[in-house]
């Protein structure tokens, strides 16, 4: 994968946007199959990626056939794109978009706080595309990682200055203990001056935001804090909606979750129709640096477990009975007993019903809330901004799902969009296969 022009991006001058536009063209490969394909006879290659861009070592996994491999060279959309609202309950717009809805408090914030050290220990493989982007930034760049988690990408380019922020204090503590600069903050309300950073990244974060307005706000914040001509890289978990055979092992949100979701500051509820109890293996392994035994064991266990379970659900479709797509899910996290605290977060979580014990697996099971992005959804959100331009997008080759990533270049002048469009059309590079 090459970044031919970014190396020439040496000055923060706004007039260098022409150069910085000639960015990479990636393959967009959508692999819509997910873990239900895991049991089979073929083996996945070690460098295939899981949903969150981390390699997963699983034996006995079926070969994933990629649907198509088309090259994206993104053009600036014509006219004034607008964001279609998927939120049908207009009552929920009265609360500040920066207020955290209950579902995120319970199924994102508290979960990550409780699982932080274990979560961090499984998050070390760096997604090459993100790494390449960061490595391409010029010396002295100020890079903001909003939703940095355990700080995996902080300091990746030693000639740049990284500031990480995350909503989870335990995760930020892990970053700071490693010597990184990090603070506790909300991605929907970044505490940074406007137009100060050179680049910003949001890696696997936006899918934890439960309303479209909040996701949009988070993108606006990323664009706001980056200088004109700067770059933003966003990755989210996305699936192809027309791929009806995609069976996720996640729990779609059901009626029983409605009350929790419809708290005082709640997003709209969509009606899921399918209900699946299978759990997703949460561990990741790096083929180069070895693996953690207990992770691998629990991974195998999960897969075998999943093969037996399919209690009520006959409808494997992503589309609910009323025709709307199911995009809201709970994804389990298995926190092994020996990792859970004796007293503290896990004990409280169990007592309040936030988590459940699974004695067979020897783990406390937490659920994390995810909004799985639909096809073109991220692009649509970005396109709706008049001060940001999609420079490129791609879907990572993935056997467990697809990741949609966008580069955005921020401009102060909307009439520049046509200039960019001309540049992009002229400068179509061959796709990188």
């Amino acid at each position: 994968m090459k970044f031919p022009s970014l190396s020439s991006f040496s000055s923060p001058s706004p007039m260098d946007h022409a150069q910085c536009l000639r960015l990479m063209v990636f393959n967009s490969l959508r692999a819509g199959r997910y873990i239900h394909r895991f049991w089979g006879t073929s083996t996945l290659s070690l460098d295939s990626f899981c949903a969150f861009g981390y390699p997963v070592i699983c034996s006995r996994m079926k070969e994933i056939k990629v649907k198509d491999a088309s090259t994206w060279c993104t053009l600036v959309p014509d006219g004034e794109p607008h964001i279609q609202s998927v939120c049908e309950d207009h009552k929920c717009s009265s609360v500040s978009v920066k207020s955290t809805p209950e579902i995120e408090k319970k199924y994102v914030h508290r979960v990550y706080d409780a699982i932080a050290p274990h979560f961090s220990s499984t998050r070390f493989a760096k997604w090459p595309k993100v790494a390449a982007f960061l490595e391409s930034l010029p010396t002295g760049s100020l890079v903001l990682d909003a939703g940095c988690g355990n700080g995996k990408y902080l300091g990746l380019n030693s000639s740049c200055y990284f500031i990480g922020c995350d909503i989870s204090p335990p995760l930020i503590k892990i970053c700071v203990d490693k010597g990184h600069e990090a603070l506790v903050a909300d991605a929907v309300n970044l505490p940074y001056r406007t137009n100060f950073g050179d680049a910003a990244i949001s890696i696997a974060v936006l899918h934890h935001l439960s309303t479209e307005n909040r996701r949009k706000k988070a993108i606006e914040e990323l664009v706001r804090v980056v200088r004109k001509g700067g770059l933003v890289l966003i990755t989210v978990w996305a699936v192809e909606q027309e791929d009806k055979s995609l069976l996720t092992k996640w729990t779609p949100l059901t009626e029983k979750h409605v009350e929790e979701w419809r708290g005082p500051r709640s997003p709209c509820v969509r009606c899921p129709s399918s209900f699946s109890l299978e759990s997703i293996p949460e561990t990741e392994e790096n083929g180069l640096s070895g693996h953690m035994k207990d992770s691998r064991e629990s991974l195998m266990e999960d897969m075998q477990q999943s093969a037996c379970l399919n209690p009520q659900n006959k409808d494997d479709s992503l589309v609910s009975k009323d025709g709307r797509s199911q995009q809201e899910y709970f994804v389990p996290w298995h926190l092994p007993y020996h990792r859970a605290e004796v007293s503290g977060a896990s004990a409280v979580a169990l007592a309040t019903g936030l988590a459940k014990k699974d004695d067979k697996k020897g783990a406390v099971v937490y659920n994390r809330y995810y909004h799985v992005f639909g096809e073109g959804e991220l692009e649509r959100l970005v396109s709706g901004m008049d001060n940001a331009v999609i420079v490129d997008k791609f879907y990572d080759k993935s056997n467990c799902g697809s990741l949609c990533t966008l580069f955005m270049v921020e401009f102060g002048f909307s009439n520049m969009k046509n200039e960019i469009k001309k540049l992009l059309v002229k400068d179509t590079s061959p796709s990188l296969k």
């Binding site: 010396t139 000639s159 204090p169 600069e181 603070l183 506790v184």
Partner: protein, 124 residues
Amino acid sequence: MRLLTHNMLSSNIKGVTNGFPLRIEVEKVVEKEVEINHDFLRNIFPKIDWKAFSDASRIMGYVELPEEAPEPSVLESDLEFLRKFHHALLELHLEEGALVCPETGRKFPVNKGIPNMLLHEDEV
């Protein structure tokens, strides 16, 4: 928290017009050496709000920086200045203390070097 980070931070409380710079309240400052990179300093220099940076360094106990921003040409040749710039920018850490919103007086705590910039419900 390093002063380079402080130079980026702004109060994001609802209704605040200008939340920069945050006033520093010091309880504990720690010095941690880090390797100097001249190119990095030259590239970062234009981004820095010098007055805020210089004032902050004084509050942190370091008085070597000039109050007025030097000419960029100084960074090309003046190694002594580069060393001082580097030290104040990257080697001084606010370990314990607070960052105070200039308009509302609201204190954002800094513990173990970590600022907590999360707002309360009534501040968003």
